[in-house]
């Protein structure tokens, strides 16, 4: 039977559903689990707190867009080292508003995970079949030349001139129009986000999908998860109305590495004998340069993030091209008044390139608040991780000048507002920076319900099974034991694909 996505207007009063499996969260992890289990013949209920979006719903005004699609209106930040971090709240989760970057975690990273966290079946060879399954279904492919745009090809030219490896980014995109609007939602419906791929497949296989349904508690009886309960919430206002309960033989939490630990805490500190729920929060802090050229670049045209260099992964950073609404990019631009206006006027001749740092020594926590379901995030950029970011910025600057840039801004305190030569950029290599000197953003977040072979040191095993509670699984990036060093979506989906198999086997 093929169902439809239920929306807020469909709900009348309270509701109770029965299922084999209830999946909490419709992002990349949850959607994979729902589709795989529904196709395996299980009765699946997929719950999502946010509403669905169609191309007509996507706002071009980035402030309004963030207020509609992101948790805490897109202005969530960590305390400690203050860093913005965005999590989506909509059908399809982060896949609706990310750049569709798909990268397999490097072999050396997964080997380290196995060695340090007592994992036996999480090598690259173990995960490759799961990566393949997800990749085939989404049609993951390299960014085509026709939609690279000058912003991406300049990056390639700079890397080539320096002998650095670079490549078009693999993305879950079909028939890209090069609008550079990934961040506010793809109006061309080219991005194969899970709301238009995995969720419809789950529906076709008989899954029930309820949006605007906020799960507030995991139900447990006799040490076994027996379902979830929560409230229906009005889109955009969050006003709670009727309540619902889903009784199930297995519960899969895929609400994201910030919402899942909050839900466990709110459920009586569930699955936390290891004391690791909400601990170990890690990010890939991102830094970026704006490079100004003499030629017209038309930076708004082209795949949002179409080119990358993986050359420096072992040194702790990955380099990418970037586009986002100008208002977001301008946050890192130094200056005020006419100096700022002068830089804005040069935007058509500029590119923005970013780096994400694998900052494993910088850790934090996710705590629940007494009221509400927003997490309290605490995280500190460790001083020993700072050189990763400054070196990454230097390398980006080097690539920019090799590509013909005339000036570069980094937004780093203690670095001239605009650098005009590589000599002037040496400050990035030589200065002892403080964490607060950087303008960072961290949208890749992990490790708050980490997997570990030892039940005393982790929340789940490598198949996503909670050590402490039977029939309870986790399938989001919270299970990563460390930073994956590359964009996490594909790895999260591969692990979720494997978790779905372990749930199916257990039912």
């Amino acid at each position: 039977m093929t169902g439809a996505v239920r929306v807020f207007a469909d709900y009348r009063g309270d509701s109770v559903e029965d299922a084999d499996v209830v999946v909490v969260g419709s992002g990349p992890g949850g959607a994979v689990v729902a589709k795989e289990l529904a196709e395996a013949g299980h009765a699946v209920v997929l719950l999502e707190e946010g509403p669905p979006f169609t191309p007509d719903d996507f706002e071009l005004d980035v402030a309004i867009s963030m207020a509609r699609t992101m948790r805490e209106s897109g202005l969530r930040t960590t305390l400690g080292t203050v860093m913005p971090t965005m999590q989506a709240v909509c059908l399809g989760g982060g896949s609706v508003v990310n750049s569709a970057i798909c990268v397999r975690a490097p072999e050396f990273v997964l080997d380290e995970w196995c060695e340090r966290y007592g994992l036996r079946r999480t090598t690259r060879a173990d995960l490759d079949p799961h990566y393949d399954a997800v990749g085939d279904f989404l049609g993951i492919a390299p960014t085509p030349e026709a939609v690279l745009g000058r912003r991406n090809t300049l990056f390639r030219e700079g890397c080539n001139a320096l002998g650095y490896s670079s490549e078009p980014i693999l993305r879950n995109v079909r028939d890209c129009r090069g609008s550079g609007e990934c961040f506010t939602g793809c109006r061309a419906r080219a991005k194969q986000s899970v709301d238009i791929t995995y969720v419809p497949a789950a529906l076709r296989a008989g899954a029930r999908v309820l949006t605007s349904a906020r799960v507030e508690q995991v139900l447990v009886a006799g040490g076994r998860a027996t379902g979830v309960k929560g409230r229906f919430v009005e889109p955009f206002t969050g006003r709670a109305t009727g309540s619902f309960e889903v009784r199930a033989r297995a519960v899969v939490l895929a609400a994201g590495c910030m919402a899942t630990p909050v839900l466990l805490k709110k459920s009586g500190d569930l699955a936390n004998r290891s004391r690791q729920v909400g601990e170990n929060l890690r990010f890939h802090p991102g830094v970026a340069i704006t490079a100004f050229f003499e030629e017209e670049v038309d930076p708004s045209f082209g795949a949002t993030q179409g080119y990358q260099s993986l050359q420096f992964l072992r040194e702790g950073y990955k380099l990418e091209t970037l586009w986002a609404p100008p208002a977001v990019l301008a946050v890192r631009m130094p200056g005020s008044g006419h100096a700022l206006k002068n830089r804005l006027a040069r935007l058509p001749r500029s590119v923005v390139w970013d780096a994400i740092g694998s900052c494993n020594r910088s850790v934090g926590t996710v705590r629940s608040r007494r009221r509400g379901f927003s997490p309290r995030l605490s995280w500190r950029l460790d001083r020993s991780d700072v050189p990763i970011l400054s070196r990454a910025l230097y390398t980006l600057t080097e690539i920019a000048f090799a590509a013909g840039a005339r000036g570069v801004t980094t937004g780093v305190q203690g670095v001239p507002d605009e650098i005009h030569s590589l000599d002037a950029a040496q400050v990035l290599r030589n200065k002892d920076f403080h964490p607060a000197d950087f303008v960072t953003g961290g949208n890749h977040a992990f490790c708050t319900t980490r997997m570990h072979g030892d039940s005393a040191r982790g929340v789940v095993d490598e198949f996503g099974r909670c050590h402490d509670v039977e029939n309870l699984y986790i399938a989001d990036t919270g299970v990563f034991p460390q930073c994956p060093s590359v964009n996490p979506m594909w790895t999260g989906m591969a692990l979720a694909h494997r978790t779905a198999a372990s749930v199916s086997d257990a039912l």
Binding site: R177, A188, V439
Partner: protein
Amino acid sequence: MLSATLGGGFVLVVAISTWVLVRVFWGHGPPVAPLQSLSRREAAFVRAAAATIFPAGGAVSPSGGEARIAVHTDRWLVRVEPRVRLLMRLLFFLVEHATLFFPAPGLDGFRRFSSLRPDQREAALEGWRTSRLGPRRLAFQGLRAILTMGYLSHPPVLRELGLAPRKVEPGGPLASEAPIDPRYAETGP
């Protein structure tokens, strides 16, 4: 002697309190446009800060005022979560009133930000931007980000920068060949 000292102290406290109340609550201009969320005082601050960060003239024609940043901020405030709204309001209040305690240059620098002369406002914001204290710089970045959201969503600004969104649709032309989205076109709504 004691009562005279107490009396003098009382007068001093009353005088300072009156001065603070007048500086904080009196003399804001009338609202320029009907606003749903920003108070008259907040709107006066946002307009003043917008005009300082995006002054008239220069490399991009519209000023912060012409870009109707206060209206955009108001529209945004209506849509954000209450906790975020409170934080944004606190930020406005902080920057607006900081110059009552840490004055802008000049003998008349002990004023609310929105009551300062343009050159004093510029100096005050530069103080926030280049402060050695990380939290002060962060407050400036937060304020500038809020105002920039408004400035760079204004269709004439985006058109002038050549960054107005294109009309994008499934199977349509590449964005580089597509016309400007009607909402951002000169003849648009």
